[in-house]
């Protein structure tokens, strides 16, 4: 871990407070290009820096030094006519003018010193080097400059000086960032490679020649002085990114212009016929024309269809549908074709397709190999089926291949815009293809489409209504890398959040994967946390700082080249001494990563899986705790045997959770449906619903429905009067079945009249024709009369007093 730790630390920029360099015996200098910087990442940083320093500088009588040379250059720039310039350049010139005014007033207040540096150097660069050489023994000095070469020169001076001599850039928060040796060296290497290429391509200006002459020996000196690792920026650039290009055409490959002004809104082209399979069309480039026959349709997308080319397997044709044949698309294809671009893995347009009427309908491009990431790596179940033997190293290779293409496109000032798993393809050899050239953002033509998961929080509204910034593109690049390594998991997936609102998840910036601090309980469920834990520290740090809202790179995201460095380093770990955990090369590890090379790793005695158990470091005891079972077996140990849900062992009874025990031990009674422990049930019925024969009729009846052993029918029947037996006195039915049975059960004769049965006289005969008595409504309910005689004694009569009162009040 030792050496890697160091190199990891070295790669992050050091950040200083600017105040440090305006105290006594310190000097702070600012170069021209800082005042003309239009990079949005550093926007406002200089203003903040002045704000932080002003009071201290005045107190110490030690103003920030802006040499008169710089002032002269700013004055010269601000006097230029900007009408011919790109927007960006014009903005820089405008800024120069603004700062000039601000510096004047700063100087008047004594907070800016511009009186220094009246030397005879033609360039401010040399002036600074002179100043630092001359005063390097006396002051601690810092130079703010965006020029890589100048930063290298100062760095070399600093290495030889007793004093603290640094050169850096200004951050958005007004602090100073000083890049690490390795990063500075690599930047310079790339700059040299870029310049050399320009010169080779005949685009070099005299300034470039001078720069190359200075940089080459500087790089050698730098390498000797600082223990930096050699990189072959030049060769990687040329080998993997630019394949042997076609014989030189009228235009040479070169970057597109950087345009910051959005083109006018896109418009549909006038309707024309849309060709289909079997139709002949024309493929046109600025130099050539050829007849193309559309072959079978290969796919339908949101903007049109893709066809094979009859007789040319290497090419495919994208034909736009009528709603996507637009001016912007036509112009973009034309623009791309005006540069001779060819690269393995990037589907640059190879010709513009015109229909039989000569109208633009689509374009040809090389046939990409492989399948969309969406249909492979992003779907674990399918991925395991399609590429069962892939390891983590293979996924890292995919990332590298992707990054190489992106870095190349970015170097051409092309933004991919809509980076998503459907626009990136990968084949079994891990070659990545970037498709969908017509949606790229080039020279002010916006990318009109987007994908929410890959959309930075700063993008609002319609995609076509604004140009994307490179920062926003870098967000998509980081997201894609994460989703390749973690096979489809979204960086902002987290437990406890509404998983349908992607924009909100991104805007909140709560990256839940654990880094350094305590484990985040919001990490999404599943083995994702293990996959994350096995990434190297440096890669995790870069991801965390990019995705987390508190990360240092959340607004200054890593470039494709920076990621490339990180992933190449990651690739080199496999098989090296740092590769001490055998599970780190698995795409789907099932436990956390081993802490150190000496961390004990065992097979699991229960499931038998190799390397399944890893010792857990205990900070307090300074030793490893070694679990007896692997994570899954431990989980399973206290899982409910029925539903499989992990449960605390104390809550399990007979190996099952309460819910499953209930399901298993209880059942619904077949009769009443009441949930009942099965041990109390007989024949599927609860005790209340057990069948018992009615003691009268013998029908099996649920116990609960019996009343004194009789079913409801028999109960009803027994309360009825026996119509076959009539009272000898009044010739009316007088005795209920129940009552009869009572006499029989006692061995007595059944009585013959009301009087003998009930010890009461016969009731008055109910006269159906008689009018209701006036008092009936107030006193006696008439149903009394139909009640069984046993319960119905003599007809209730009103007391004399009642009748008297009734009469009085009537």
């Amino acid at each position: 871990m030792g050496p890697r730790q160091v190199s990891a630390e070295r790669s992050e920029s050091a950040v200083f407070a600017p105040e440090e360099f305006i105290s006594t015996d310190h000097r702070l200098f600012i170069d021209t290009n800082v005042f003309m910087d239009t990079d949005p990442d550093r926007a406002g940083g200089l203003k903040k820096l002045f704000g932080r320093c002003m009071d201290i500088a005045l107190r110490n009588h030690n103003g920030i030094v802006v040499p008169s040379k710089v002032i002269d250059e700013l004055a010269k720039q601000s006097g230029l006519d900007t009408s011919e310039f790109t927007e960006e350049r014009a903005a820089a010139v405008h800024r120069a003018g603004q700062w000039l005014t601000a510096l004047e007033s700063g100087a008047a207040a004594g907070f800016i010193r511009k009186d220094l540096g009246d030397g005879s150097n033609p360039y401010a660069d040399d002036l600074f080097v002179d100043l630092f050489t001359h005063f390097g023994g006396r002051y601690d000095m810092c130079l703010l400059t965006n020029d890589i070469t100048l930063r290298m020169r100062i760095r070399l001076l600093g290495a030889a000086s007793q004093r603290h001599l640094v050169a850096g850039t200004v951050c958005a928060d007004g602090r100073l960032a000083v890049d690490p040796d390795q990063a500075l060296y690599e930047r310079a290497c790339r700059k040299l490679a870029r310049m050399t290429r320009h010169i080779e391509e005949g685009l070099g200006k005299p300034k470039d020649h001078a720069e190359v002459e200075m940089l080459a020996p500087l790089l050698d000196a730098f390498k000797r002085t600082f223990a930096v690792n050699e990189i072959d920026a030049r060769h990687t650039d040329r080998r993997s990114i630019r394949l042997p290009s076609t014989p030189a055409g009228p235009s040479t490959p070169s970057a597109f212009r950087r345009v910051t002004a959005l083109k006018p809104t896109d418009r549909l082209l006038a309707p024309t016929s849309i060709p289909k399979t079997g139709d002949g069309v024309t493929g046109e480039t600025p130099q050539t024309k050829r007849a193309v026959m559309l072959g079978e349709m290969l796919g339908v997308g949101g903007e049109g269809s893709v066809f094979a080319v009859e007789g040319d397997y290497s090419q495919v044709v994208k034909i736009f549908d009528k709603d996507h044949r637009t001016e912007h698309r036509k112009s973009k294809i034309g623009l791309l074709l005006s540069h001779v671009l060819e690269s393995q893995g990037i589907a640059f347009p190879t010709s513009m397709i015109l229909n039989s009427e000569g109208e633009f309908v689509g374009y040809t491009m090389p046939r990409a190999s492989g399948k969309e990431l969406q249909a492979t790596i992003m779907r674990p179940a399918r991925f395991k089926r399609v590429y069962p033997n892939w390891t983590k190293a293979d996924l890292v290779d995919v990332c590298i291949s992707f990054l190489e293409k992106v870095a190349y496109l970015h170097s051409l000032n092309i933004l991919l815009g809509d980076i998503n798993p459907k626009n990136v393809m990968v084949d079994e050899h891990k070659n990545v293809w970037i498709i969908d050239a017509d949606s790229w953002q080039i020279e002010g033509y916006p990318c009109p489409v987007g994908t929410p998961m890959f959309t930075a929080a700063t993008i609002n509204g319609e995609y076509a209504d604004a140009l994307r910034t490179v920062e926003e593109e870098r967000f998509a690049v980081a997201t894609m890398l994460f989703m390749i390594l973690i096979t489809g998991q979204f960086p902002y997936a987290r437990a406890g959040a509404d998983g349908s609102d992607f924009a909100a998840l991104i805007a909140e910036g709560k990256f839940a994967f654990q880094f350094k601090g305590p484990s985040d309980r919001d990490q999404p469920e599943g083995n994702w946390k293990f996959m994350w834990s096995h990434l190297p520290f440096k890669v995790k740090r870069l991801f965390w700082n990019t995705f987390h809202r508190n990360g240092t790179r959340s607004t200054r995201r890593p470039t494709a080249n920076e990621w490339l460095d990180a992933f190449r380093e990651y690739r080199a770990v496999f098989g090296s001494a740092d590769d001490f955990d055998p599970m780190s090369d698995d795409v789907y590890p099932f436990r956390f990563r081993a802490f150190r090379p000496d961390t004990p790793i065992h097979d699991c005695p229960q499931c038998g899986r190799a390397n399944a158990i890893v010792g857990l470091w205990n900070e307090d005891s300074g030793s490893y705790f070694e679990p007896s079972l692997c994570y899954d077996c431990n989980q399973n140990k206290s899982r409910c045997a029925d539903c499989g849900k992990p449960k605390h062992p104390d809550t399990l009874k007979d190996g099952r959770c309460w819910e499953c025990n209930r399901k298993r031990n209880n059942a619904a009674c077949a009769n009443c449906g009441k949930e009942t422990p099965t041990r109390y049930m007989v024949d599927g019925r609860c005790s209340n619903c057990q069948l018992i024969r009615c003691k009268d009729c013998g029908t099996p009846t649920a116990k609960a429905d019996l009343s004194y052993g009789r079913c409801a029918t028999c109960v009803k029947k027994s309360a009825e009067l026996d119509s076959t037996k009539l009272c000898v006195d009044c010739r009316q039915p007088f005795i209920t079945f129940d009552h009869e049975r009572w006499f029989t059960s006692k061995g007595l004769d059944i009585p013959k009249s009301h009087l003998t049965a009930t010890k009461r006289a016969c009731p008055p005969r109910p006269a159906a024709s008689a009018p209701p008595r006036r008092t009936a409504s107030t006193a006696t309910p008439p149903k009394q009369r139909t009640a069984p005689p046993k319960a119905a004694p003599a007809p209730p009569a009103k007391s004399l007093w009642e009748r008297f009162v009734g009469w009085l009040s009537s």
């Binding site: 969406q374 249909a375 992003m378 779907r379 674990p380 179940a381 399918r382 998503n420 459907k422 994908t451 929410p452 998961m453 973690i486 096979t487 489809g488 998991q489 979204f490 997936a493 987290r494 437990a495 406890g496 959040a497 509404d498 998983g499 349908s500 609102d501 992607f502 924009a503 839940a512 919001d522 990490q523 999404p524 469920e525 599943g526 083995n527 994702w528 499931c607 038998g608 899986r609 899954d632 399973n636 899982r639 539903c643 499989g644 849900k645």
Partner: protein, 226 residues
């Protein structure tokens, strides 16, 4: 190696889900040919999702039936865990409001399962099919309409109200869907409808969550009336 992989397929699959709830009228009037065709249509829907690469990993289906009461006959499950339906017994009244409320309750429960586990999902779908007039509790019906229209307004639900045959009460279905008019199936075009539905599900699962999904309304032609 007795690992409980099955129970984990919810969290081990990072594909954002498309929860689809079918809320089906199984009242007495559906008896006979209609209910058989409907069951066949649902099974066909399952098969089509199973065979579609994108929908396979994304779709989760639940089924609520309503007649004199509402009941959940299939809780949300991925296509591999869905049991094909043998038959549904059509009988009783048309407690439509109760059915929709149960469907929404089931959906809410599923959404909270997703959230607790950190699983991503698309705007859920509610497919409401009836061939008659609702005759359950009118308070439940009003509550269901209110809930559905609120969710639709917040873009948290896509609703497909489908009338089966000429007796379906289209005016009630219309109240469930202020934005899109309900569909009336021509005859018994269940097969065509479910084919269209499975295609729409796979179209959504190919898109990225949050995208406004354009439904293939032209694909409806021939078997449905808007």
């Amino acid at each position: 190696m007795a690992l409980n992989i099955g129970a984990d397929d919810l969290v081990e699959n990072p594909t954002p889900r498309v929860p689809v709830t079918l809320c089906l009228d199984t009242s007495g009037s559906m008896m006979g040919e209609k209910i058989r065709e409907l069951v066949e249509g649902v099974n066909l829907f399952y098969n089509a999702i199973d065979e579609d690469d994108d929908a396979h990993d994304a779709a989760e289906v639940s089924i609520v039936e309503f007649n004199s009461a509402a009941s959940l006959i299939q809780d949300f499950a991925s296509i591999e865990r869905l049991d094909r339906i043998d038959a549904i017994n059509a009988t009783g009244g048309t407690a439509l409001g109760e059915g929709v409320n149960l469907a929404l309750d089931t959906l809410e429960k599923r959404k909270s399962t997703y959230s607790n586990a950190g699983v991503l999902y698309y705007q859920p779908w509610l497919v409401l099919m009836t061939d008659g007039q609702p005759n359950g509790s009118s308070a439940e019906l009003e509550r269901a309409i209110g809930r559905v229209t609120d969710l639709v307004a917040q873009k948290k639900l896509t609703v497909f109200p489908i009338g089966i045959g000429s007796d379906a009460d289209m005016s009630v279905l219309e109240r469930f869907s202020p934005n899109r008019p309900p569909l009336r199936l021509r005859g018994m075009s269940f097969k065509e409808f479910f084919e269209w539905l499975s295609k729409s599900v796979s179209r959504v699962s190919r898109s990225t969550p949050g995208d406004a999904v354009k439904l293939d309304l032209e694909g409806l032609a021939g078997w449905a009336e808007l």
